[in-house]
């Protein structure tokens, strides 16, 4: 059964079982592979995308529930890696293997939009993605820097 899905501002007609998890529709039907599969049960957050601005673990959400909503993946954060959060990640050389980082960035971006100046406690409670390489220390620093950069960017705009 076909349904419409808007991903990163582009509308796609998806011919898939509507119960297919959003993750697999994004990866296999829309063809965007930056969003990752790891646990399949909503534990690790490698599959995190935004649905109407909220961070969602896309492996555990039927794609149809996102129909008519705005889905944003890592590919939609910026066309060229220039978003302040990506600049902050690069500044701290945060990723190691990088596999979890798409989801980590999407979770952090949702947090920063909700709380532009997150405390460490906010980060601890809101960023629950798993990173097996142990990049948490640099990710935390990068989130704080991203908060500063995003405010400066907003100030210029």
């Amino acid at each position: 059964m076909a349904f419409e899905l808007v991903v990163n501002g582009t509308s796609h007609t998806v011919d898939a079982d509507p119960q297919t998890p959003l993750l697999w529709v994004i990866r296999e039907h829309v063809g965007l592979t930056g969003t990752k599969f790891s646990c399949g049960i909503g534990q690790c957050g490698a599959c995190t995308v935004h649905v109407d601005g909220r961070a969602v673990r896309s492996c555990s959400v039927p794609a149809q529930t996102a129909a008519g909503k705005k889905v944003v993946t890592i590919e939609g954060v910026s066309p060229d890696g220039s978003h302040p959060i990506q600049a902050a990640w690069k500044e701290f050389d945060a990723p190691q293997c990088g596999y979890c980082q798409s989801g980590m960035i999407m979770s952090a971006l949702a947090l920063l939009r909700e709380r532009p100046t997150p405390s460490d406690a906010d980060i601890d409670s809101q960023i629950t993605n798993i990173c097996r390489c142990g990049t948490y220390h640099r990710v935390r620093q990068a989130i704080h820097l991203a908060a500063d950069l995003m405010k400066r960017t907003a100030g210029r705009a």
Binding site: A16, D17, T20, P21, W24, E28, V30, G31, L32, T33, G34, T35, K36, F37, S38, C39, G40, I41, Q43, C44, A46, T73, I74, E75, V77, S78, D80, G81, Q86, W89, K90, D93, A94, P95, Q96, C97, G98, Y99, C100, Q101, S102, I105, D120, I123, D124, S125, I127, T128, N129, I130, C131, R132, C133, G134, T135, Y136, H137, R138, V139, R140
Partner: protein
Amino acid sequence: MSEPAGVNRREFLATVAAAQGAFVLGFWVPSRADAQTIPNAVWYENPTTPEINAWIVIAPDDMVTIRIAQTELGQGVWTSNAMMVCEELQCDWTKVRPQYASANRDAREQAPEWTLKVPGKGAGDPNGGGEPTFGNRDRTGVSGIPDSLYRRMRTNAASSVKDGRYYLQLAGAEARERLLLAAAALWNVPVTELTAKNSVITHASSGRTTSYGQIAHRAAETPHPHPETITIKPPDQWTLMGTEQKNLDIPLKVTGQTVYGIDVRLPGMKWAAVKACPVYGGDVKSYDFDAIRTMPGVRSVVQFPIPDPALTRGRVFSGGVAVIADSWYQAKTALDRMPIEWKIPPELAAFNTANMRATLLAAIEQPGRVRVNQGDVDAGFARAAKIVEATYSTPYLPRARMEPGNATVLVTNDRVDIWIGDQSPQETRFSAAKITGIPEQNVHLHLCHLGGGFGRNGNGPQAEHAIMIANANRGVPIHMLWTREQDFIGTTYRAMGVARLKAGLDADGWPIALEVRTGMQGDGFGPEASFDVTSRYYVPNYRFSSHVTTFHVPVGTRRGVGQAAHEFYRESFIDELAHAAGKDPYRYRRELLARTSLPYKDDLLTALDMVAEMSSWGSPLPRGKARAIALEERGAEGSGLATISAMVHTVSVSREGKVKLERVDVAHETGFGLVNPLSVKKQIEGQITWFYNDAMHQASTIADGHIVENNFNAFPISRMSEDPPEINIRFFPTRHWLLGMGHDRATSVQSGIGDAIFQITGKRYRDLPYGKHDLRWS
């Protein structure tokens, strides 16, 4: 029903050609001699301009492609290998593009003669190539470095810098010299009058310059008359090596564009989902494909046997079944509904954690293999004023990398193509040849970055599964992807271990006798991984024996071998002895090190002293908070390669029993030089998290012969909230080359948290993880 799964090679190539014309995002063309490559893929491509040597291609615009024969799995090798080449080549670091080396060419070409001999005088010679671990030659690349083109293509044993540095530096130097020779010939001037810097060659007296890109085609045809005379720069001449360089793969990793194995898409590709028997050594008894045959997208089914142990270093995994469908989620959904019966040998189903642990404990009561026997241990115990005895244990532990096992394989009648993130492509090439009967020279690996690694063979038979499935579907590219649950079956485990340590202390509390017995599974490296306590801490009478058992769980490397468990035993016990002696654990360690005659004694003492000072050791802490110190080293028993550090862990335990690693201070040696200190810091930070998880959370248990914890709900991994708020790393120089950074750093988180718990709660726990214990206090 849909059409048969098969498309033949001609149809496949026709599809490739069509795809080139209609290129869309996420729809990729395979890298083959006859096919276009895809954006952001980093696997080997045939060069469009002549290469200088097998590691270096320079394009007319000065862009330098550097071939990387190790795999980037987060450790930074993509950058550090390139730095080692660039340092000598003297090319512009901003115009460097790493690319994976070709495992296929490696099967067909011999290594240049100048890469075969390690220059210099070993671990203590700053001018030389150090002391590669895998110095012996081995064609398969398992036990040594082959003489084939790229030498060692494995990524393991924390050895990428240690083993590859000399020939990567030589590769850069050889190319630089030939660029200079080509310019000298062109200008008809002596080569000694030329200098090379930042991809520009200058003849100072005439003012002439040329760029690497302009001269590269001539250099490619200019052999070096005496490559054996080329030398490598010692650390005091490094200008790029030794500086903190951001990793070259980061920009793609923050935009989701990195190509991991799981991201490979090919025209006509089908997906395979797999279930292997959950009990190792088990196989498929029966399955009912008819029950799912008509489900959406389903194409076919493949049963595969237990992978040939000769291809998996002797480890016995299990047989299984794969469902092939148009999409992976269709394949997985159908497979979940397909009835499967397993054939499980009853003696294997009888294993569980309790009886395996009992077997290990019984084994250490029996005579074992005596590894070290110094002085008279029994006489030492007889005159001891106090006896301290403790039994420690560590559970089975998997790697649990983030990217589940996967590989995309196309087998035709004369060729195998494999797209994979792989820590040992030479072994995978060998497996492909054995399984398909197609010679290694016709096996092509298209290497991808890995979503975590932590030990190649540890990551099990992902390649072998995929090759067997694709071999049964020749002509169709098959992308096999394990579920998370399968990844926990497909992996090897660090062996469960036990250790009994018994010390006799003299009246002043110093050890005069020590007996150590370790028990681990026989092929788990555990008992054979060094646990020679006396060489680090002085004890005059010492006996160490290992006690081997046999279980069915395949065990192997996991960010090291047995050392992490052994350092937990050793450092925990030294803490216990210090407390029993009523002495400060830092001073106690210091004195026992000072009494030795170890070649690197001063470095060990420097590490301890520096970290004690960094952590304000001895200054008061509030109730509920404690510090613990530990030594970490590899190789410090000898005078060869070593890696030495010390850490202090500041830990709090709330009255409700909540543990927080508050702060970690690290004093770490640099050896003669670190290639990329930024990557080293990241490795240390990451391993603090790794061993924090080992200490607090992680254990794999066995029930009815199978691993119980098979996803992240049952196998916990820490999140941001448990990361230590403060990590301080300070380096100090030493006079030897390092043994490696990729594993066995931060093992002391295990003993450190344990001793802090003891100091705060009065409770001493000796079996990991601590999180399963009642840590409350009042």
